[in-house]
Point group: D4
Chain length 208, copies 8
């Protein structure tokens, strides 16, 4: 009945792709405030760590003006495959990148990057064409302005990509709070100040 | 010819699902002003009562920071099935919740909740996958910001969910004003101040 | 290749439906400024007249608080079928309304009304289900706010409706400026102040 | 040192003026959503009652299209001076209105009304010219759009009016929560859903 | 006590200045939609006529790209002083313009024009410096974008100009509806569609 | 699996269509600021030149108020087919225009124009119906306001058009930076000030 | 010549007041996103520490629904005067609070809090009335919505308060980068992601 | 009568100060789009050249991450005093900068820079305190977001600064188009695309 059947994210079948979150390129992002964007990207990093998802980093010309990958991501994933692309704009055109993905044996790609309309959209469209399920983390992907953002979302959605946000990724992978309540609460509380406030109020009140 | 054939809401085939409208979680909602959101949620409650629709309430960890269900809803539906989920994030993963729905024998699910991208989107996607018609009440469902809202709407719409608002739900169920003109006018007048103003002007003018 | 094949508006196959543009109901519209909305609705009326399209007016309870149809429309179409619905919310549930449409023998419905999510969306969805091509004039249709507007657009678009604006309707029906250049220029100049300015500048400059 | 010395609201020196909150005129308001505006106006009414402030109601042509005063206000202040102005646009031009104010012996005017740029701004400017302190409740005063709102605010502020919101009025009059903690909490909880949520969470948690 | 004492508009002391509403220049205006702006400018013209205020028109290089004055204004004021400035940007630098103002013997200048930051702001600042009271009709004055608008408003307000909107001008000049109720109602009803709707509903209801 | 399979832009199969970027018509555009729009359109022109894509220019009544094509485009493509349409609104109705396209033997149409809902949407829909792949450059296409823009995007997307932005076009055609790094960097640096800043900082720092 | 003479912040004459940043009250803030607000408040805390400014914390009913002070602030200032007000809404009404300020012997108050219109505005107005210079850190102060924010800003500005943002506070206190370049760079880089990116790009490039 | 008497810009008494328009710092600007901001800054540069105004450039740490001055400005003013400040944040604290200004003997300072709240606001406040007239070019000055922008504008305006935009600067200095019609038209046409369109339409039409 539906056009795009529900593909539920599964922590045993998902891999995270972080594309071109570089110190120079991020200065181009204006569809999120810098703090909002930083928080969202690091939240996605937290999720990848928390669920032990294989994670693949890639950059575009990081020796040039685009700048190096933001250090927080590199530190978070010191041993992850890191593909510094020598020139391919679409990361899917880089054999090492695709090999690294295929090496995981996983079919669900959780992707985010800078800029949404190119560094995210191109590999998303290519991966769908090869039969992968692609989940675009819209709030960890940034671009020039909201007009460009909306066109890029429409293009990816029309091609069958699943649009969602980092919080939905975390919750869909977690399935049940009881799998690790403290762990998830801790993750959320670092990235959602109002959730942290709820926890702090609760702790205070129930301690009385 | 169309992709998603018109499924008309029918008061004999519809059930209302109110998911995680809890005092703590609502503080996370920023895509509606607090008053706007409260009014919309209570309007949906009014509709469920007015049309005698079976209504199912559920909460996530209501003994923790998420807080209890907002009292107005609990008071409005004192005898409705109330499923306090012990940990499942997707309400559809809770057997009691799904059983309560199936026990009604109805196939049209009218759903709203907090937050849209998780507590609404997940059961919506699961229910569609099981063959239910799902009608998402977009203005009685809240989340972190409009960017997240738009991605969640896109994901649900792509999967075949029907997006609509509480006023459309009321009107589609009513079919004809003559079924209970005073009742519907009273309902609308509590929740649409400008409609109430029209009625009050009318009453004044025609009383002359 | 495409999902919704191009159905080109044709002045010999189109009929205009103006639904519930009533003096009371219009006070509910807040997704357009009052002047913007009035201008758009009257522009659509101008188009119907200019192309001699059969036009059907309908109202909901015009003896009650919803108020009478706005006089400009009634004056513009003194002899058009005018169906004052006694209670049906979905105009398609009113036999006279549907009969009036079918009596024209036309299959392309150009529809606008107040409010978008109900008075426009319901007959749009019903008509598509019966095989009509429906063209929703989005800027001559108003509702409570843009959140409601966006959900209603999404629902109708998913069902196969064509979303467009009055200017596109005029241009698609005209096909070629040479069919009546002065007539179309006059129409546009009444409703698009910046276009009128272009004409006035041109006239002044070339008269020198 | 400052241009406009701090005039602190004092419940023994303040009077509330509610100007032209009529069922017809309110349909002109588009700088607030209808629910937001209704909530703000009724909150101001609550405040007047709670602090036993003398309150004066006035309307403009309430037998004509402007419509009667909204019933909630009339019910809230059944015995308040009610001046149905026969024609004066600036309420200050109506002798009865000014007499009613002067009869209270108070010098601090808390004013709100529809529309901000006329029904609020004119008496505000006149009263300041006569030596009154005027506190404009900006969120209980509505008008056509935010451009008009901003110009009206600028005009009143330049003339020495104090711009504030209903919540600030309540808090400035209360001075100390201990003067009536339950009373104020109850008032706020009816008009600030997120504050009500805080109270409900707190009650639940501390009851454990 | 106040910084800018209330100067009440008086129909016997006011003159209207319409500056550079030209067919070319108006295409630069983007802080109002074209329809909104046209309606506001013509409303101000209506007001000048209705109160028989002396009105002075001026243009900047109307034989060049700036284009001629919009015909509606020229038609509305066929006998008004019309000063086609040969080059002065600040209309106050044109002797004929200032002479025409001084010939009226009036001290209250109601001004609007295109663009706000130049054609309105410059003569406003000059006139204040010469002791005139200047009332800037903010919504009949347009410019490039709202950032420019806000800076221009701030500059004029700081210099002592009164910022208001056309509706406030009409109401302040009228003083009392009884001075000509039908006339004012007619004026408003042409320019405020929602007010017209109120009148039409009222007429319908009370005719029953 | 996807609805709209990924069609990757290919510089050997693409042709650029620039429709009605005329000096008069552009004054109607209000969904982009004038500078933003000019920059986007010229960027698309730069891309066509850089990749040597066949480019076709067309205008609507350029001897009338719509005005001539903006000179920058004409200068950029002095030898390109230039079809001054004598009256057809939909450029696809003009035989010369379609012939010029077919003469290139290319199947990927990159289109932009003014106004989006007519001059872009009509040929886009017609071309898709004839089997072409159409890539709409959303940020080099302008119209009256964002409401109209959104409806036009929805209509084209539903029909199978690919929505994207000029930067994505450039990157998809380039494939690999190494194909001409300096050339692309130069192009981007003229049209993306923040990218130019990155390059200038880089050059300065590495020169030390 | 100026109305409000420049009072330059001086690290030897300034004291920081953090008012009611409590876990419950912050859930009322909607004029900033939660992340944006958290970042701004903590940045102000960083500044107070960096410049060794005396800092005073105060809360309103922190044993009730308002919740405890956010732990980050308490941890940052373990030894600062902490005044848990038993009921006074205006902190200036609390003798201990004012005494703590006067004990510093400083005359420049840097204030921020929740909510802007009450907890910040009231002590700001009171302090100005007593001759203090008050610097309101607008982006570390939050409230219900931007309409309330704007009215509160206007009220404080009219009374002579200096409106500024945390970044301006840091820079005005620092005077010269050379006073502690690394220290300030480190502070900014924690709170301004784009500034951190500049530093990281620079470090990478110059290390080559 | 006015608070801030009209100080008319005079090309013989004005000097232009361009503060910290550096390749790194500009990446912090988000209250204007990058293209909009670049265009505004270069327009101000054009004005300084066109009127032969003495122009002074200054930078903050241009050998560090802040980056060098944008090359276009350096090229436009190769011989202008260029003060690379070794550490002073407020340019007014740099003796060379103030000396360069005083050396011109001029009293009207036209200032723009990055970021508005610091690099523009600080020298503006200092200069006013020393008796200069300061004209802040609001649209050639950028900062982190509009909230910061608005607070900075309010602070400078309260201190007596004149807020205006580059177009107003150009027009106020020009006084009369006849002083150099072609020159000014050329300047505007490079920076105001819609004005260029007017000129191009005019030229085409009158050439016929």
């Amino acid at each position: 009945m539906s056009n795009v059947p529900y593909k539920r994210l599964n922590k045993d079948d998902a891999v995270v792709l972080l594309v071109d979150h570089q110190t120079g390129l991020i200065s181009l992002v204006q569809d999120f405030s810098p703090n909002e964007f930083k928080n969202n990207v690091l939240a996605l990093g937290d999720i990848a760590k928390f669920f032990n998802l294989p994670t693949i980093l890639t950059t575009s010309f990081d020796s040039g003006p685009n700048g190096p990958i933001v250090p927080e991501l590199k530190e978070q994933f010191p041993d992850a495959p890191f593909i510094a692309r020598p020139g391919q704009i679409n990361a899917w055109d880089n054999e090492d990148f695709v090999k690294a993905i295929k090496a995981t044996g996983r079919k669900q790609l959780i992707i985010a990057g800078v800029v949404t309309d190119v560094c995210v959209a191109f590999p998303t469209l290519s991966a769908i064409a090869e039969g992968f399920e692609v989940f675009v983390v819209t709030d960890a992907s940034g671009t020039f302005n909201t007009t460009v953002q909306q066109a890029a979302w429409a293009r990816m959605s029309a091609a069958g990509a699943h649009l969602l946000n980092w919080f939905a990724v975390a919750c869909e992978l977690q399935v049940d709070w009881r799998n690790d309540m403290e762990g998830l609460a801790n993750l959320l509380s670092q990235r959602l100040p109002n959730y942290r406030n709820l926890i702090n109020s609760y702790t205070k009140f129930t301690a009385k």
